[in-house]
Symmetry: C2
Subunit: 341 residues, 2 copies
């Protein structure tokens, strides 16, 4: 590999001059400039980032720790991070915790993530990353999951109860509010709800949003139509069966994710209930499956890519010491209207 020294020798000039030309600073004559640039081109020179980083004490690298890379939402977030990073000259050092495969547990608690993340954190430190983004794929309180240090951290796609932590996520509350409100706007008041895990932050926030929509419209929600799922297809199916076999059954069901919404549609099909004729269904996530259901699912899409972009934007601000208006960024979801309402 070519380096400054070789170019300097070839050009009969000092290393400093070559460095100056290649970073166009300092005062260098036009002649020499041309010559050096040509030689660098010939040698296909690429500056040694290690040396540069060492000297400048800046690695132009940010570390990304993701709890589970192969879960549907993580790649799109990373994509967002990546595109912004690229535009700003940063590279991404990727660490995958692989929680699901490692622990066998689908929703590991904070403590176990903490243990697994520690060594990765150390690697990132050693790599002199200028900042870290932690992507927790199951929204929950990750307060202090990474050890305190002078290096800035942004928590993404998860919550943190420590107000000093920087975090970026979507807004569960408003998403559920708007989904419910949309149904009410269509003149549907008999709305059932299938939640996710009862103790998940997402579930609780969305439940609040759901109820808020009713309050705003000054109508009552029926507690009998609120039922608990576990985020899986089958729970949607079973709860759907339960809800739709009641004497007074809802005219619409809001499921807290697309999988469960799919289950509801399956249940409706089996019971001979027409969607959207007799029953409207709304999902959450805008996951791939939603566009292949029959009817195609109307669903709340999460701003995954934007979450990624905002995360790194926030991180870079922090790195540069710029003023940060709010530690906690919550982005809005968007309803994608398809055929199930």
């Amino acid at each position: 590999m070519a380096n400054l020294k070789k170019i300097a020798q070839k050009a009969n000039v000092s290393v400093a001059t070559v460095s100056n030309v290649l970073n166009n600073r300092g005062r260098v004559g036009e002649e020499t400039k041309k010559k050096i640039l040509r030689i660098a081109e010939d040698f296909n020179y690429a500056p040694n980032r290690m040396a540069k980083s060492l000297k400048m004490n800046k690695s132009q690298t940010i570390g990304v720790i993701v709890e589970d890379l192969s879960v549907f939402n993580a790649p799109e977030i990373i994509d967002g991070i990546n595109s912004f990073a690229e535009d700003h000259g940063y590279s991404i050092l990727l660490m995958n915790l692989r929680m699901k495969k490692k622990t066998g547990v689908q929703y590991p608690d904070t403590e176990i993530c903490k243990q697994e993340a520690a060594p990765m954190f150390k690697v990132l430190l050693a790599s002199q990353v200028e900042g870290i983004i932690y992507i927790g794929i199951h929204s929950r309180d990750v307060k202090g999951i990474l050890p305190d240090s002078s290096i800035p951290v942004v928590y993404t796609y998860c919550d943190t109860s420590n107000p000093k932590d920087l975090s970026v996520n979507y807004n569960d509350f408003s998403a559920a509010f708007y989904a419910t409100d949309y149904l009410i706007e269509q003149g549907i008041k008999d709305i059932g709800l299938i939640t996710g895990f009862k103790n998940s932050e997402s579930t609780m926030e969305r439940l609040k949003g759901f109820k808020k929509a009713f309050k705003e419209s000054e109508i009552e929600w029926n507690p009998e139509w609120i039922t608990n799922g576990d985020w899986e297809f089958n729970s949607g199916y079973h709860q759907g069966l339960v809800l739709l076999q009641k004497n007074n059954k809802p005219r619409a069901i809001l499921a807290m994710n697309d999988l469960m919404a799919g289950g509801v549609i399956k249940a409706a099909n089996e019971l001979g209930i027409n969607v959207p004729g007799d029953l409207s269904v709304i999902g959450f996530d805008n996951r791939e499956i939603s566009q292949y259901l029959t009817p195609k699912l109307t669903t709340m899409s999460l701003p995954l890519n934007e979450i990624g972009q905002q995360s790194i934007k926030l991180l870079i601000k922090k790195i540069r010491g710029e003023k940060i208006l709010s530690n906690k960024i919550r982005l809005n979801c968007k309803l994608v209207k398809r055929e199930s309402v």
Copy 2:
């Protein structure tokens, strides 16, 4: 951040000694060793990778260029790469081409990938990566997509007609062969086929496998039942409709991906044809959707994780100059039997 110098000062010892202790080489007394280790621990010392790399001329980093990170198969491959890398002390520098978003084209040709990949390649060179994995998510000939250089490259999830290139992919031919053969084994001889793009390598190879299975069983395949799709759900639906409305219709349909298989099932549902009672359906990819169809789809699962692992395994071998038995690794797919056959 702590460094060798600080530790050395604190311990009243030379930098060299600290280095020796921390990498346990050289001759150092037990006393000093303990002391240095304790201080390093106290300081939460992490060796500066930049400096180390610079000196050792080894970055312990490998670059991964992926054509589209947010496509269903890429994350799992990267997951595989990552897990192997971690176990062997390598880190992953991730570059995302984002072909779809950038070019608007879903299946960009080699030339355009080449253009987009060039700057990333340069960044990776500058980062002193020891090797590169190029993940092309649409299997095709990527010969020479990255510029020639002394740094080893493995092409993953794509083909290359240059026999000198290292590549890892799954085996389209045998996958299609076994899927077809499985159907034949079940006593079904009237098998329809919905292909992907006609000019794709995958399509051609799988078509060969399909025909081979018939030859081996010494039965005839019906050319009328072979029809072209475009990998999308709708094409499966439409071709399904066509096939299933013929006077002599097939008893089984093999679709070259799960999306199209989903379309076939939808078509069957509409025509009142029972799956698997009257029609068996097999898909390809074992994508998420396959487990949520009704009936659940029997499909060929791609060894994505293993592809990732084998890629980096091969790359590391190449980096270390070890003997490489075959430049071209083709892994077998596995039939996951569910309810549609």
